[in-house]
């Protein structure tokens, strides 16, 4: 390999420095991008630094003592050893309590990340570089690596996806900038980087000229996007935010116990975003959004009712304007009025709202591509105290006998009532006849003895609730909700299973927006009290076999919330963002203006230099005409090498343009001699006609595409020497 031969001579390592730096910075940039989503800032910085170090070390030492004596396999093995030891060391640092005690836990975590990513990137880079030096396919691996990094970054934004993970697009959106231009710039950068890397590998370093053309094309593409915009991408149905259809109700099979499509991969998929317009904090620690309810026993289990006079607090369909709940809501005194805006990210059959909704008001959709449907909900959210709940009567006054019966139907299984009466037997005398106390003791039984698990054996039993309740008490919300409801009903308390979403209050994290994710889909038992309406009494098993906690997605929550807000408040939010010393938009505009100015200046200089000899004084002709001729040559890619004399260059170009020899000679006579050669008088030499001749000679020799490139290249004159 030519590379190795030149490197062994020591002196030429200086000439290798630039390509090495170029390559190192490109690979390091791809490390940076790859690590962004996987680690924190210190890890990213470490991977960048580690990659640079690895690149320089390998390039410098691979062909020297003693590294050149070792086999490739040995070097790779040593690097891998470093990698493994780095991982172990970082784990040790993060896990060590002593270090965390000495410095702060955050610092020790940062140090661990730093070491880990530093060694990962240094080791992998060293392996890649060694392969590139020693093997034929090595360089390909390296280029593949860089390509992958760019593809991963860009593909995270395909179809206008956001927050997967929190990436460039989101960053731009938060600042009110169209991410398309940033992504286009990155794409152009990728093209340039890859081209550069390929050229470095094949030692074709003297093609910066074609590079500048490539860059020009990329930038003009960018300019096009800046001014005319991008064609909107085809947004997929799931908006790139969710996996499969998550509509909780719509996709449910007849038997709610058999919705085994609890696919953990999609659990974090966003379902809707809720904006709180009024202050509200739930009493029991969770926000409940009821979409529907199972209240009618159909012989085997509870289902949505088909009677018009039941569940009149539910709204089953969307309307284009507003829809109010037809049933009067009791207990207004112990409820607070909360207005929320909901943006649905996945389609739902029925509107849902913070319990208990009074009316749903359709609102204009601020972003049709993001939100399936947006509406405002006015809710009377419960702020019940214990005193409110105690001593209540159950059932509404306006219920007919049939409705009462429907709310008390349960499977023909005496064990429900037996267990329920057992559970309420030990109540204090003052609460012995209180329905809420009954319900609460049933809930407490389930809390203390139930085991939450997504895997269970009850799905195909005739009565899964019974199988659960009188069996191993292991199941998920459906089982708890159904069991509780059946027991309530067995005691004569009208109850139903509410279906919807329940989101922990802590998820709001102090903001005004709340993200509902698929994992928050929930079912709960509720009881009707005469003066309060439907009250949720939700069993919360203390033992759980699945980790149902999710990382709080505060940034996505904030981002989607800001999107749902109207423009004015979004602008407000933008203004409230820190560090808008100079807005990004301004910087971008400034940069594009600057680029345009540079281009215009470059073209100006280029054509001025070609044109000025015709009007210059005689004594300057020899310089200016010759410079113009050199400009023409260099725009066609014909340049004098460094250190090459003008005569040698002239004889090199002589085949292409014979007159160039003449003009070079005359130029040198004027520049170095007296101007009068032995046979030609300076006064009689016609510079313009000779340079015109050269132009014609060149025109005959060059292909059309080279001529076109020569005409549009604005910087060719910079390479004239």
């Amino acid at each position: 390999m030519l590379n190795i031969e030149t490197e062994t001579q020591g002196q030429s390592s200086r000439s290798q420095f630039l390509p090495t730096s170029l390559r190192a910075s490109i690979i390091a940039a791809s490390y940076w991008i790859l690590s962004l989503s996987l680690t924190n800032l210190s890890g990213s910085v470490a991977s960048f630094v580690g990659c640079l170090l690895g690149c320089y070390l390998v390039d410098h030492f691979i062909n020297r003592q003693p590294l050149n004596r070792y086999k490739t396999v040995f070097i790779i093995a040593v690097c891998s050893l470093f990698l493994v030891s780095g991982l172990l060391l970082s784990d040790l640092i993060v896990a060590s309590t002593m270090l965390a005690g000495l410095v702060s836990p955050m610092n020790s975590y940062n140090a661990g990340e730093f070491i880990k990513w530093f060694l990962i990137s240094a080791a992998i880079t060293s392996i890649l570089r060694t392969c590139a030096h020693r093997t034929r396919f090595g360089a390909v691996l390296e280029i593949l690596f860089v390509t992958t990094a760019f593809i991963i970054t860009l593909s995270a934004h395909r179809n206008g996806m956001i927050h997967r993970p929190y990436f460039i697009g989101d960053f731009a959106l938060m600042r009110g900038v169209d991410p398309a231009s940033i992504l286009m710039a990155m794409g152009s950068g990728a093209v340039l980087c890859l081209a550069a890397l390929l050229m470095v590998e094949s030692n074709h370093r003297r093609l910066p000229y074609h590079f500048s053309i490539l860059a020009l094309l990329c930038f003009s593409l960018l300019g096009y996007v800046q001014f005319f915009g991008l064609p909107s991408p085809q947004y997929t149905d799931d908006l790139g935010l969710t996996g499969a259809e998550q509509g909780n109700n719509a996709s449910q099979s007849d038997n709610p116990f058999r919705d085994s499509e609890n696919n953990p991969e999609n659990l974090e998929a966003p379902v809707a975003i809720v904006l709180f317009r009024d202050d509200y904090e739930p009493v029991n620690g969770s926000y409940y959004f009821r979409e529907t309810a199972y209240s009618q026993y159909n012989g085997s289990l509870l289902d949505t009712t088909n009677r018009d006079d039941m569940d009149q607090d539910l709204v089953s369909h969307f309307t284009n304007t507003r829809v109010a709940v037809s049933e009067a809501l009791p207990g207004q005194d112990s409820r607070s009025k909360v207005r929320t805006s909901i943006g649905m990210l996945t389609p739902h059959r029925s509107p849902f709202g913070l319990e208990s909704p009074l009316e749903f008001i359709n609102t204009p959709n601020p972003n049709n591509l993001r939100f399936k449907r947006t509406y405002d909900v006015v809710s009377m959210a419960p702020v019940f105290s214990f005193d409110d709940l105690i001593g209540q009567e159950t059932g509404a006054e306006f219920w007919s006998e049939e409705v009462w019966d429907e709310y008390l139907q349960l499977p023909d299984d005496p064990r429900y009532r037996e267990l329920a009466t057992d559970l309420i037997a030990n109540l204090k005398p003052e609460y012995a006849d209180d329905p809420f106390a009954w319900a609460y003791s049933i809930k407490t039984h389930l809390d203390e003895n139930g085991i939450y698990s997504l895997k269970n054996d009850h799905a195909y039993e005739a009565d899964p609730a019974a199988s659960f309740l009188f069996g191993d008490l292991t199941g998920y919300c459906m089982h708890f909700a159904f069991s509780a409801t059946y027991m309530f009903r067995s005691l004569g308390i009208p109850a139903r299973v509410g279906i919807g979403y329940s989101v922990p209050a802590s998820n709001r994290a102090g903001g005004s927006s709340l993200l509902i994710q698929a994992i928050h889909g929930h079912a709960w038992p509720e009881v009707y009290f005469r003066d309060l309406g439907w009250v949720i009494i939700d069993p919360a098993p203390q033992q759980t076999l699945v980790d149902m906690t999710t990382d709080p997605q505060n940034s996505l929550q904030q981002l989607l919330g800001d999107m749902l807000r109207n423009e004015a408040s979004f602008d407000e939010f933008l203004n409230s963002q820190p560090n808008p010393l100079i807005p990004l938009e301004t910087i971008l505009t400034f940069l594009s203006l600057l680029a345009a100015a540079v281009l215009a200046t470059a073209y100006g200089v280029k054509y001025y230099r070609l044109w000025v000899p015709q009007y210059s004084a005689r004594e300057n002709q020899y310089r200016l005409s010759y410079r113009a001729v050199l400009d023409r040559l260099s725009s066609s890619g014909i340049r004098r090498n460094t250190g090459e004399s003008r005569e040698a260059f002239a004889s090199r170009v002589g085949d292409m343009a014979p007159s160039f020899k003449t003009i070079t000679q005359q130029h040198l006579y004027c520049a170095l001699g007296t101007g009068n050669s032995l046979n030609v008088q300076e006064e009689t030499f016609n510079w313009n006609s000779v340079s015109h001749e050269i132009q014609q000679q060149l025109g005959k020799q060059l292909p059309l595409w080279k001529k076109v490139l020569a005409a549009i290249n604005p910087f060719s004159w910079l390479t004239t020497r």
Binding site: R623, R646, E647, A648, N676, N679
Partner: protein
């Protein structure tokens, strides 16, 4: 080792007919000088085949008042070259006047004495006085064969003559002719029993020329024409001593050396001295000696100015024996081209500036 030169003489002579009365005196002198050198070159080239570049360098050295050290192997034509040069120069009438012969060859051996070179006073019994008998050094062209075989004493006598253009014997100084030109040779391989010339003494030679074997066609040509050349050996003494001295003067006065050329030379020297691979750089004297050589080359190429091409062409021959490389560094050409790149680039760029 001698690079191919770009000869643009043809262009020059083709257009030479168009000269008119505006052509000033200097130009015509220069033209005459160039014509003289061309004729001299033609004469020598008739006798020595396949060594055009060496002949060019030797003529440059002759006109530039320098001396040449040839490094080669036996039978490579150095005697033929020196003899052809000496025979081409001399004019018939000058022999009688000054007693200076056109060409002498001195074979240096370990037992040679300085007086064998310079000449010795001999007692003339008729006049009862010592008369100085001129040694072989009193000639226009002296071939000092295998100069490294003789003792340092003889070498120094020879070198004094080369440097000062005079010979001192018994406190009497005898000047040499202004046209005094030494071609010394040494065999680079056969070093047994030799006294290698130290660097300061090498400094007196303008060029050191390392010769390779001539190419196949030229060698064939030599064999084809040897008889013909033997027979015409004594013909065509076409160039007189005075003509060469005229050419020397004309070139000296009318070929311009721009200041950019000079600064390029100085920069190259400084680069060489600062380079880690160089133990000892070249002297200032070497640059001074090089000036007329550059002028002569420019004149031979039909130019009245010195250009970068001339520097590129001559510099290796001027510097190779003057620069001492550090141990372990062998490629002088690479060192030189590294040191030349910057100054030459500046020189080339300079022509676009005022």
């Amino acid at each position: 080792m001698v690079p191919d030169s770009i000869t643009d003489n043809s262009q020059l002579t083709a257009a030479a007919g168009s000269g008119d009365d505006i052509v000033d005196q200097e130009s015509s002198d220069l033209e005459k000088a160039a014509a003289i050198l061309n004729r001299l070159g033609d004469c020598v080239r008739q006798q020595v085949l396949g060594r055009d570049n060496v002949i060019e360098l030797v003529i440059i050295a002759l006109v530039a008042d320098g001396h040449v050290l040839l490094e080669d192997f036996p039978g490579s034509g150095k005697t033929t070259l020196a003899k052809a040069l000496g025979e081409a120069i001399v004019s018939h009438n000058s022999i009688g006047e000054s007693g200076i012969v056109p060409f002498r060859r001195i074979q240096f051996t370990p037992d040679l004495l300085p007086s064998d070179v310079t000449g010795v006073p001999v007692f003339d019994s008729n006049s009862n006085a010592f008369h100085f008998r001129h040694g072989p050094i009193f000639a226009h062209v002296v071939l000092a064969d295998e100069i490294n075989r003789t003792s340092p004493k003889v070498q120094s006598a020879m070198l004094e003559a080369m440097g000062e253009k005079q010979v001192t014997v018994d406190n009497v100084t005898y000047p040499l002719d202004p046209l005094f030109f030494v071609i010394a040779t040494q065999n680079p391989l056969d070093l047994v029993g030799t006294y290698p010339l130290p660097t300061p003494q090498l400094d007196r030679f303008l060029f050191k020329i390392t010769m390779d074997h001539i190419d196949r066609e030229a060698e064939l040509d030599v064999l084809e024409t040897w008889q013909q050349r033997r027979d015409q050996c004594n013909q065509t003494h076409s160039i007189t001593r005075d003509e060469i001295l005229f050419a020397r003067k004309a070139i000296d006065s009318s070929v311009l050396i721009g200041s950019s050329n000079k600064s390029a030379l100085v920069d190259i020297s400084r680069n060489l001295r600062e380079d880690d691979r160089v133990l000892q750089g070249n002297s200032t004297r070497s640059m001074v000696l090089m000036m007329p050589a550059l002028q002569t080359l420019a004149a031979m190429r039909g130019r009245n100015y010195v250009s970068a091409q001339d520097i590129e062409m001559l510099l290796p021959f001027v510097l190779k024996h003057r620069v001492e490389l550090a141990p372990g560094v062998s490629d002088f050409n690479k060192v030189l081209s590294d040191c030349m790149r910057g100054p030459m680039e500046q020189l080339a760029r300079g022509t676009l500036h005022k």
